[in-house]
């Protein structure tokens, strides 16, 4: 009974709004930490060995601000489609980057919620967490698509 109520709440418009707020907080938190130390973030991105060196700094400079802005916009009642698409896309990119680094056996920091060396190693748990974020993002996107008359 409780399970059915929980599912009903999750599938309700309020449930979707709750997920949007949650994902928004995730993006704001992740972005704000990286804005504080872009040089450390550039080093972490370099560790993934998937971004060309000359692009490292610009990614480290712009990505945190995009994350914070996206986190602010996600729960708001405008640009709903764009924020849902961008959130899902970013989670997919992060998941791909983390998965490939684990698969290649590269021992690096995730850089997801911290820029301190050794504080946030990439593990299979990190992948599981990102899969959950991706599912939530995709669900928000799906509900947004279904909302369109």
């Amino acid at each position: 009974m409780k399970k059915a109520k929980l599912l009903k709440a999750l599938f309700s418009p309020r449930g979707v709004l709750f997920i949007r707020i949650f994902l928004g907080i995730v993006f704001i938190y992740a972005g704000a930490i990286k804005i504080n130390d872009p040089q450390a973030f550039a080093n972490i991105i370099g560790g993934y060995a998937i971004v060309p060196f000359w692009l490292l700094n610009i990614v480290a400079i712009v990505l945190p601000c995009v994350e914070v802005l996206l986190g602010i916009i996600l729960p708001l009642p405008f640009w709903r489609r764009g924020s849902a698409i961008l959130a899902t896309l970013l989670f997919a990119v992060f998941l791909a980057a983390i998965t490939t680094s684990v698969a290649r056996g590269i021992d690096i920091d995730c850089g997801c919620f911290s820029t301190e060396v050794g504080s946030n190693p990439v593990t299979w748990l990190t992948i599981c967490r990102d899969i959950i974020f991706l599912i939530l993002g995709a669900y928000v996107l799906f509900r947004e698509y279904r909302r369109v008359p």
Partner: protein, 157 residues
């Protein structure tokens, strides 16, 4: 579906453009602002003759990017600091920035034609805001062959 995607992608691009602009503006007013485009490898390489000249003039800070055993047991270039890729750079940054600010060159090296450790460390230092960083490709072998001074220590990093 098509309309949904077109308007959604347009909105997503707007978020990216506005966020990127804010990021660049924020970087431009930071006291520790980063160069937007990191220097490329070709800008960073120096020759053994240049490295020797810097050393003779007391204007070289060597970074040994080899493993700590090679550094301690085989020896290293004079007063070289042992930093490997993915090491925490933080403890070294202040000293290196100070030295580079005084006109010294930070010269990273490793051993072997195919070795990229020196390059990786040089790139990491450069993107961490250390100016005047360069790479002496195959530096250990070239330095040793040239009969230039070496140091041996048991000190680990």
């Amino acid at each position: 579906m098509r309309d949904f995607l077109i308007s959604g992608i347009r909105q997503a691009l707007l978020v990216v453009v506005i966020g990127s602009t804010l990021g660049l503006m924020f970087n431009s007013v930071r006291t520790d602002k980063m160069p937007i485009i990191a220097p490329t490898l070709s800008d960073m390489e120096i020759s053994i003759a240049e490295a020797e000249k810097m050393y003779r003039e007391g204007r070289a800070i060597f970074i040994d990017a080899r493993d700590s055993w090679s550094y301690a047991a085989m020896g290293h270039l004079p007063q070289a600091i042992n930093i490997q890729p993915h090491d925490n750079l933080e403890p070294h940054l202040e000293e290196l920035k100070k030295g580079a600010g005084e006109g010294k060159r930070v010269i990273a090296y490793c051993d072997g034609e195919g070795c990229r450790l020196g390059t990786e460390v040089a790139q990491a230092l450069s993107s961490s805001g250390v100016p005047n960083v360069c790479v002496l490709h195959n530096g250990w072998t070239l330095w040793e062959k040239a009969g230039l001074p070496l140091e041996k220590s048991k000190e680990q990093k």
